[in-house]
């Protein structure tokens, strides 16, 4: 019997966990009380407090999640106010994560809701930070950040699938979007599907140099060709207004010269920052889908998305769900690090022989490196020469205990990853 006394706030979704529905996958083990407790105690990390992140945070709070963390390194800008509805003009300049957390908490009084905000880059947090969560939901607009969190979550899983934290990833572009559930090392990961990413729109250098026709060509001319010519070695920062002003004025002059209309400050910013058009309604659809997946996963009330849903609303409406296959040679999830125990007194050459024997790398010598050091590179010749001296050095001099070593060889479809324990 489902016996929890609930307040009004929770009533809307309770029947979803209190009854065992026809699609429940775990009829024998499912316990409504446990499902409710898990929902109240599950720790969810929301990455990104932008358009999608604000929606996700609101949806989570309204569907019974009580322990939420949100992380974002951005501060609020005036241009965010139109669709990032948790922010008001008085918040401009403050950290997005902090303001979003305060707003949702204030709106949901009496619900024992804890929202902890983190105003930093995701890369600034250690692995131990990510280990605390039961599920991670991403509302990011950056490929780089997604790749990073994906690789981090993959690295937390061991061979018995302990440490597995699902990554629910949402993304939108205009009227289109997608949501997906990644079970690291079990389903396809973000890196497995890298080839599907639409690359940033770029134009041939010769076109922007000689025959500009579009306002974008003028902005690219200013940023790709003129900026390095005028300020060699200086990095362009689109968040600095004097940099952006220079870019806009330079692009604008170019546009006048070639009689091209449409170079505005907004367009300039859009091109240099590669801003993808976003609308609140698509964000709402995708955020809702992500949060429903989190709810179903945490409560075990219904099967979760397997594993990719695309939504297309630009021409009629079309959604399509399919199971994206894992890429066997995915550099991130295709080769999970293996622990190898070897004597620290071995030199690198002994170690290489040992690996070659173990992994049938019969011809030549593979390349080996750690995150910070090239141990041995078989090619190009200049690196081979530089790293050759390491072949005779002891492992204990070259490696820290438990350091990850990457082994690459043309014979191997993917690089091997070894965690080397020194004895």
């Amino acid at each position: 019997m489902f016996s929890i006394q609930n307040n009004q706030h929770d009533s809307s979704y309770l029947s979803l966990v209190s009854n065992v529905g026809p699609f429940n996958e775990f009829i024998d083990e499912y316990d409504p009380n446990e499902a409710f407790n898990t929902l109240s105690n599950a720790r969810v990390l929301v990455i990104g407090a932008g358009g999608l992140g604000c929606e996700i945070l609101k949806d989570l709070a309204l569907t019974g999640f009580k322990k939420i963390d949100i992380i974002d390194a951005d501060t609020i800008e005036v241009s965010n106010l139109n669709r990032q509805f948790l922010f008001r003009s008085g918040d401009v300049g403050r950290p997005k994560a902090e303001v979003a957390a305060e707003f949702v908490k204030r709106k949901s009084m009496g619900k024992n809701l804890s929202i902890v905000s983190h105003y930093c880059r995701i890369q600034d947090k250690p692995q131990s930070f990510y280990k605390q969560f039961d599920v991670v939901i991403c509302g990011l607009d950056s490929v780089e950040a997604r790749r990073w969190i994906n690789a981090t979550l993959v690295s937390l899983v061991d061979s018995n699938l302990n440490g597995l934290i699902p990554m629910i990833d949402g993304g939108t572009e205009g009227f289109r979007g997608q949501s997906r559930v990644i079970l690291p090392t079990v389903t396809s990961c973000y890196e497995c599907t890298l080839d599907m990413i639409t690359p940033k729109t770029t134009y041939p250098v010769c076109t922007i140099a000689n025959t500009p026709r579009l306002p974008e060509h003028c902005v690219e001319w200013a940023s790709v060709l003129e900026w390095p010519r005028r300020f060699p070695g200086k990095k362009f920062d689109p968040d600095l207004s004097e940099h952006l002003d220079w870019m806009y004025e330079t692009a604008h002059r170019r546009a006048i010269h070639f009689k091209i209309d449409g170079v505005t400050k907004e367009l300039t910013l859009g091109v240099v920052k590669n801003i993808i058009p976003a609308i609140a309604s698509t964000n709402a659809i995708i955020a809702a889908s992500c949060c429903n997946e989190a709810f179903k996963y945490v409560t075990s009330s219904n099967p979760i998305l397997n594993n990719y849903m695309m939504y297309s609303g630009d021409y009629s409406i079309f959604t399509y769900t399919y199971s994206h296959a894992r890429k066997p040679n995915c550099p991130v999830c295709g080769n999970h690090p293996k622990t190898i125990k070897v004597p620290g007194s071995w030199d690198l050459r002994d170690f290489i022989e040992h690996i070659k024997e173990k992994h049938d790398i019969s011809i030549g010598t593979p390349s080996l490196a750690t995150a910070t050091k090239q141990l041995y590179f078989r090619s190009p010749p200049s690196l081979e020469e530089f790293t050759r001296k390491n072949l005779g050095r002891k492992l204990s001099e070259l490696l820290d205990d438990n350091e990850e070593v990457i082994v690459s060889d043309p014979k191997l479809p993917i690089s091997l990853r070894l965690l080397v324990k020194l004895e």
Binding site: E144, R147, D195, P204, V205, N210, A369, S408
Partner: protein, 194 residues
């Protein structure tokens, strides 16, 4: 979160059935690492690309700081064509978003070439609009080498050079010779590369 338990159980059963025919294996599968630095996806891919480089002797890759494989200098000595025996150097910069972002390549010298401007910008489709993660470092370097074997007057970055190439190959060839020795062409002085 019963899903995880279900997956773990399934994994155990699979492992158990594998166990019977597994040979003795010193390589145990890991618990997660505690080591601080983790190898990034970009580094994994770059290491693979470098290991698989298959270049003729006339193309060399040199590292100013060999402990940083993300930045290096490429030198090309064309074996035939207008630029035969010149020594052309390029900086190659790879960022943490590789292979989503292409390698950034610039010519270090001021050279007379229809597809390379006086600042070292290069017009090569696979370095920009036609780049794809499916391409690798080798294909980019071979593509760059090809620009010296077959300069293309249709994608000009140095318009004067492109016009001369389109109109009169003999004049173009002699202009290239002058420029490669460090001389001036149309009032512009070029770097000596020979």
């Amino acid at each position: 979160m019963l899903k995880i338990r279900q997956l773990q159980k399934k994994k155990q059963d699979e492992d158990a059935s594998l166990q019977s025919n597994a040979k003795d294996d010193k390589i145990a599968v890991s618990n997660n690492s505690t080591s601080a630095a983790r190898v990034s996806a970009a580094q994994l891919r770059l290491q693979k690309d470098l290991t698989e480089l298959d270049l003729p002797k006339s193309i060399k890759v040199n590292f100013t700081n060999p402990s940083n494989i993300f930045n290096f200098v490429l030198s090309i000595v064309p074996q035939e064509g207008f630029y035969k025996m010149g020594l052309f150097k390029f900086t190659v910069e790879i960022n943490e978003n590789f292979p989503i972002d292409p390698p950034k390549i610039r010519c270090m010298q001021k050279i007379y070439h229809p597809n390379i401007d006086l600042d070292g910008n290069i017009c090569l489709n696979i370095l920009r609009e036609d780049w794809s993660p499916v391409l690798n470092l080798n294909s980019v370097i071979i593509g760059l080498n090809f620009l010296f074997l077959e300069p293309n007057p249709n994608d000009p970055l140095n318009k004067e050079a492109a016009n001369v190439l389109a109109k009169n190959k003999n004049v173009f060839a002699s202009n290239v010779k002058v420029a490669m020795r460090g001389g001036s062409v149309d009032g512009e002085r070029y770097d000596r590369v020979i």
